[in-house]
């Protein structure tokens, strides 16, 4: 299988142009930014609160925006055109994820600025954020493939936005309801825990466990997404 940077870039440019004309989707960027503005008026922000904003950026943009642009390709029958072209799955998803990836990072950087978040180690946090975005964008891609329209995608991603956006807050419930202990292993919770350690001066040797768990989530979701896409390819 060959990989063409040119083809991936063409899909990326197309999506960039298309998104710039799509208010419905670009306006969803505002949600995490609005919360960041609200939080910026408070004095002491805990890491949990900071990561509520960051995880919300992941779920609204990485998951929702990505699912909406994939679902729209299905709704408008353009995904089939890409599938029938010489573009490979890597080029198609690479191109389509790149826009979402840049938008997600942009939103996170803007929100971090708004709430004055200064990680003790920028590079460790950057690695963690990039690995996290692989997971969220994979999840968004899968959601887009599972739905038939943008409207459907917005409905089915709502609980996901809630789960990954706010579940750091649910952690306090684990003691009362042990059944919820799986929450600890969610990638958003792992990310927040990782950030707390980094803030206390941890190095890469202390946090690789968190990174590994987030990475496993990312690999798992992309395997599932690829399997589902391949199935769709010959399903008429």
């Amino acid at each position: 299988m060959t990989f063409s940077m040119k083809r991936m870039y063409a899909i990326f440019l197309k999506d960039l142009k298309d998104l710039s004309k799509n208010m419905f989707i670009t306006s969803s960027m505002l949600m995490p930014l609005l919360i960041a503005v609200l939080y910026s008026r408070m004095d002491e922000l805990s890491i949990d609160m900071i990561y509520l904003v960051i995880n919300l950026s992941f779920s609204t943009i990485g998951v929702f925006v990505q699912s909406a642009i994939i679902a729209e390709e299905k709704e408008k029958n353009t995904l089939r055109g890409l599938m029938l072209s010489p573009a490979t799955i890597l080029e198609i998803f690479g191109g389509k994820s790149l826009v979402t990836f840049l938008l997600t990072l942009l939103t996170i950087i803007l929100s971090a600025r708004l709430i004055d978040y200064e990680p003790s180690s920028i590079s460790l946090i950057a690695i963690a954020l990039i690995i996290s975005s692989v997971f969220y964008i994979g999840l968004g891609t899968l959601m887009g493939l599972l739905t038939k329209s943008v409207v459907e995608a917005s409905v089915i991603t709502l609980p996901i936005i809630f789960l990954f956006g706010f579940s750091t807050l649910l952690q306090t419930l684990i003691n009362t309801y042990p059944i919820l202990s799986f929450i600890e292993y969610l990638p958003n919770v792992q990310l927040a825990e990782l950030a707390k350690e980094v803030q206390l001066g941890a190095g890469i040797e202390d946090i690789w466990g968190y990174l590994a768990i987030i990475l496993v989530w990312g690999i798992g979701i992309w395997l599932l997404t690829t399997w589902f896409y391949k199935k769709k390819e010959t399903a008429g």
Binding site: A10, I11, D18, T78, R80, G81, S85, T234, A235, G236
Partner: protein, 282 residues
């Protein structure tokens, strides 16, 4: 003759409903082959199987000598172009932006955009947003897109079903030109005139089976009544046997200067379809 498409005992069953049963045909290089049938006959299913978008339940379908299911490999996709009844475009982008993407995907020069738009008479609309196109224009852009990479084989699923006669004629003309340049065309339609106009051979598909397959001309002759119709100046229309037994009558009508016109009683493909299946082509 080189067979570009070869189909043997092809069957497709959805759940417990058969959409195709024991379908057999071949398409020769450089020809235009028509699949004629009413809606639900199995035309789209056949195209999807031939382009690797759907797996058959049983039987063989080869394209360019390879199993059709291998056509979904990126390296074969340059060889063919497809229009199905649900081909789409990016509606917020212009015609040019849409075609530009496909130039990059197929790695052809963007100069081709001007050429294909010329072919479908849309040169003026190049910068127009797709959302603002009429149905006919939209369909022509879809065709233009399928032609960008000059495919050797073109699959067209009811390419003119949404178009008025003027737009259909434009597309027919374009298809005849492509065919002259050597493109093999596999076309489905429920429009018998379309089949008659541009196809070298047609297959009648009904309830998932091929009922008849031949050149349109031969089919019409095969089903023609052996008579000619003579229209007389007094308004009468008289059927006269086309053999020697009718020769004297024909001579007499001409000799007595009563004839307005004389024509054969060849049926249209639509007539033949109704005779064969008891069903109209809709």
């Amino acid at each position: 003759m080189e067979h570009i498409i070869q189909v043997k005992s092809l069957a497709k069953i959805y759940g417990n409903q058969a959409a195709l049963e024991d379908v057999n045909f071949t398409v020769e290089k450089g020809k235009t082959f028509g699949f004629l049938g009413p809606s639900g006959a199995g035309k789209t299913t056949t195209i999807k199987i031939l382009t690797g978008q759907l797996l058959q339940t049983s039987g063989e379908a080869t394209v360019f000598g390879k199993p059709a299911s291998s056509l979904n490999k990126p390296q074969y996709r340059r060889e063919f172009g497809v229009i199905t009844d649900n081909s789409g475009l990016y509606s917020r982008l212009s015609i040019e932006d849409n075609l530009n993407l496909y130039c990059q995907l197929y790695q052809v020069s963007t100069k081709r955009i001007g050429e294909v738009l010329e072919m479908v008479s849309l040169s003026e609309e190049r910068k127009k947003q797709v959302a603002k196109l009429s149905k006919g224009m939209f369909q022509r852009v879809i065709l233009a897109r399928a032609l960008l990479h000059k495919p050797a084989l073109l699959f067209l699923d009811e390419p003119t079903s949404a178009l008025d006669p003027a737009n259909s004629a434009l597309i027919h003309q374009g298809l005849r030109e492509l065919n002259k340049e050597g493109t093999t065309i596999f076309l489905t339609t429920h429009d018998m005139n379309e089949a008659e106009n541009i196809c070298d051979r047609v297959a009648f598909l009904h309830q998932g089976r091929i009922q008849l397959l031949d050149q349109p001309k031969k089919l019409r002759r095969q089903f023609a009544e052996a008579s000619v119709c003579i229209e007389l100046k007094d308004g009468r229309e008289i059927n006269v046997p086309a053999g020697p037994e009718g020769a004297k009558d024909i001579y007499d009508y001409f000799a007595s200067d009563q004839v307005v016109s004389i024509h054969s009683n060849e049926p249209t493909l639509g007539d033949i379809f109704v005779e064969l299946t008891g069903r109209k082509l809709v």
